[in-house]
């Protein structure tokens, strides 16, 4: 498992090939729906990792195995990163039923490491439940929504924050809101503000109204409700067909991003642009990874060919 994760993070050409092959196999063989992929995002220090710790403990008590991908920002200046989430997820300890991989966001602004989609694909083949933690500052909600089936936004008590969230457009994507640190006095006020803010925005697609929950990861209260709501959301999107659509969009986004990062939108246009990618993925049978491989080769050929005369 760890070796497979190393492989999909490896930029060397031979390793890349091998990784695409492995991932292609995993994606085409994966039974639907497979394990839930749950994104946790929210401002720095809101208690995402501590909440994960509590959730993991609850899941372990019921015998479910859990994998976590925890993404932390890279320093733009040195390129290095301090990956500190693992320190908070104490329940992992020496338990083989809990797996954590910390990743640096590297040059990606939205907070999701390049290899996230691939890593989640691998972990979903082995564990009963996969979590993705990212620090949220406006952009990563959208990014994490692309790899996760359900997104939980973890906020902490604090006056005025909710207005900031609304400005940043944070309230639009998450499926569940958790106001953590409910052991602090101003938590219910924040939850109330958040609920008001949500009621002002467009009702969510597909008949799902995001709940606002109060929890204290530290005191261990409200954790069951968070778990129950996440489970309810998963069932909801599974039954409505939204899960299938989200997974497909995740694959699309991955292919488009992988290609644009390497060849730019100019390169992507050489093989028909985003629409062609969506089209190709709708034809069943091919994985997003195989498609990246195939389209890369076609783009490289197209770019190598002499430009057509005007």
């Amino acid at each position: 498992m760890p070796e497979a994760l190393n492989l999909v993070d490896d930029a060397r050409p031979a390793q890349r090939e091998a990784a695409l092959e492995l991932l292609d196999f995993l994606e085409t063989q994966a039974p639907f729906p497979g394990p839930a992929r749950i994104g946790l995002t929210g401002p720095p220090g809101a208690g995402k990792s501590t909440l994960l710790d509590a959730l993991v403990r609850a899941l372990r008590q019921r015998g479910r195995s859990v994998a976590i991908v925890a993404v932390d920002p890279s320093s733009q200046r040195s390129g290095g990163a301090l990956l500190g989430d693992r320190a908070r997820v104490r329940s992992a300890r020496a338990d083989p039923g809990v797996f954590i991989r910390s990743m640096a966001a590297r040059s990606r602004l939205g907070g999701l490491a390049d290899a996230t989609h691939a890593s989640v694909t691998i972990l979903a083949a082995v564990f009963d439940c996969v979590f993705i933690e990212t620090v949220g500052v406006g952009q990563s909600e959208a990014e994490v929504a692309r790899v996760a089936d359900s997104v939980a936004y973890v906020a902490q008590p604090g006056a005025g924050d909710v207005l900031q969230y609304m400005k940043a457009g944070v309230l639009e994507l998450p499926d569940v809101f958790v106001v953590n640190k409910s052991d602090r006095p101003d938590a219910s006020q924040t939850a109330a503000e958040l609920a008001t803010g949500l009621s002002l925005s467009e009702p969510g697609a597909g008949g799902w109204t995001p709940p606002v929950l109060l929890a204290s990861a530290r005191a261990g209260t409200g954790i069951d409700a968070v778990e129950a709501e996440l489970e309810r959301h998963y069932r909801h999107i599974l039954e409505s067909g939204e899960l299938d659509a989200r997974r497909r969009r995740a694959r699309e986004a991955f292919v488009i991003e992988a290609l644009t990062r390497r060849y730019g939108s100019f390169g992507l246009d050489r093989v028909g642009g985003p629409d062609a990618v969506a089209e190709r993925l709708r034809e069943a049978g091919q994985s997003s990874f195989a498609l990246v491989g195939e389209l890369s080769r076609r783009i490289e050929r197209a770019l190598a060919a002499p430009a057509a005369p005007r």
Partner: protein
């Protein structure tokens, strides 16, 4: 008042005796600001655990000060000194400013929880370490006047306390014997009563007392609490550190880290772990910050990890190298244990470097056991250590 041992050096350790005496003077000279009680470190605490002899020497240092000098016979020597008055004002206003900040966060408890205090500690130590590295701050014997006559005090690195390894075994045996004599039914019932009480938010004291009478050990008692509440992890204080303006040597290492990342296929990833029970995290924190500053991806898990946890983390995280920091003197057992678990986890190829208060003789043993580099307090140049870690990873990569 405990005079801290942070300033003690492993290089020319005899100088520490002088440092300690001067520091003792600093906290006793003013009558009105005099400490009420004083605990001095031993001269060899940067080498290992002090022996009774070394502790006696520390005690004599303050007895000489108290009883042979006439310090105690006068009023406050600083009364009327404008220099001292000004310094006091500076300290006061600095302290008030800091207090305001902490109050604005809601008080000391929130300031611990949001890691503010820990971050400030790490920051100020980072500044100190950097000043020593650059030579801006002089530490005699360490980064200045480093030439030294052979020391008769340093008997081949053996001038420290050696804990008999059988002590641990004996203690475990005693515990085992104690447990065997308990009434298992009573123990189980007491354990359950305690678990029920905390699950229902009831007073944990009566069932704890009952558990003690039934012979539940401290460890077992704490396990019941852990199961319910998880385990407290102190904030590591390192994540919010800004990257500092780089020195030339750091710049060079950064370029090497990047190059090696290309060869490896992904950026160099390092696990910094502190196994065992000592809470002295200064060294590990500084190394973690420096590693990040030279461009490594650093997994830092904080203090009090078991060797098993470290091995699992290293493997799960896919790191290229492990740095262990141990200041408790138990490096022998702990490091060997980590190596053992790495082998058991099929991760024996991950190279291990160790830093800590480690006598030369022990360092040789660790290297013989497979540790790739050993660093002690006299290796204060973090950029050099980083550069050597790059060497170690490169060697491992080419050997594979």
């Amino acid at each position: 008042m405990q005079v801290n041992s942070l300033g003690l050096t492993e290089a020319q350790p005899e100088n520490n005796a002088i440092r300690i005496a001067y520091e003792a003077l600093g906290v006793t000279l003013s009558r009105r600001a005099r400490c009420r009680s004083l605990q001095l470190p031993a001269w060899n605490e940067a080498l290992g655990l002090p022996r009774p002899f070394d502790q006696q020497w520390a005690l004599r240092t303050q007895q000489i000060l108290a009883l042979e000098s006439d310090l105690l016979e006068y009023g406050d020597l600083f009364d009327g000194s404008s220099v001292v008055a000004q310094k006091v004002d500076e300290l006061l206003s600095g302290a008030r400013e800091e207090l305001e900040k902490v109050l604005a966060m809601g008080g000391a408890v929130p300031a611990v929880e949001n890691a503010y205090m820990k971050q400030r500690l790490v920051e100020s130590n980072t500044a100190r370490v950097r000043a020593i590295e650059s030579g801006e701050r002089i530490v005699v014997g360490l980064n200045a006047y480093t030439e030294a006559e052979p020391s008769p005090l340093d008997e081949g690195g053996r001038s420290i306390l050696r804990v008999d390894e059988s002590a641990e075994r004996e203690q475990i045996e005693r515990l085992r014997a104690f447990r065997a004599e308990r009434n298992p039914k009573e123990v189980e019932a007491a354990r359950r009563a305690l678990a029920d009480a905390i699950a229902n938010g009831q007073n944990a004291m009566p069932p704890s007392i009952r558990a003690a009478h039934a012979g539940l050990s401290t460890g077992e008692w704490a396990d019941v609490l852990r199961e319910r509440f998880g385990e407290y992890r102190a904030p590591t204080g390192v994540s919010a550190q800004p990257v500092r303006v780089s020195s030339e040597s750091a710049e060079r290492v950064r370029a090497r880290v990047q190059d090696l990342g290309r060869t490896l296929g992904r950026p160099l990833k390092i696990l910094i772990g502190k196994p065992g029970l000592d809470g002295h995290s200064n060294g590990a924190e500084q190394v973690a910050v420096k590693a990040r500053d030279v461009g490594m991806e650093v997994v830092y898990e904080g203090i009090r990890l078991t060797p098993e946890e470290i091995a699992k983390s290293a493997r799960d995280e896919g790191v290229h190298v492990i740095g262990l920091s141990i200041l408790s003197g138990s490096h022998g057992v702990l490091v060997l244990d980590v190596l053992h678990h790495l082998r058991a986890d099929r991760a024996a190829e991950i190279p291990v470097v160790v830093g800590g208060i480690i006598p030369e003789e022990d360092a040789r043993k660790l290297v013989a056991a497979g540790v790739r580099r050993v660093y002690t307090p006299k290796d204060y140049d973090l950029a050099r250590i980083m550069s050597e870690i790059v060497d170690v990873v490169a060697e491992t990569a080419t050997a594979a």
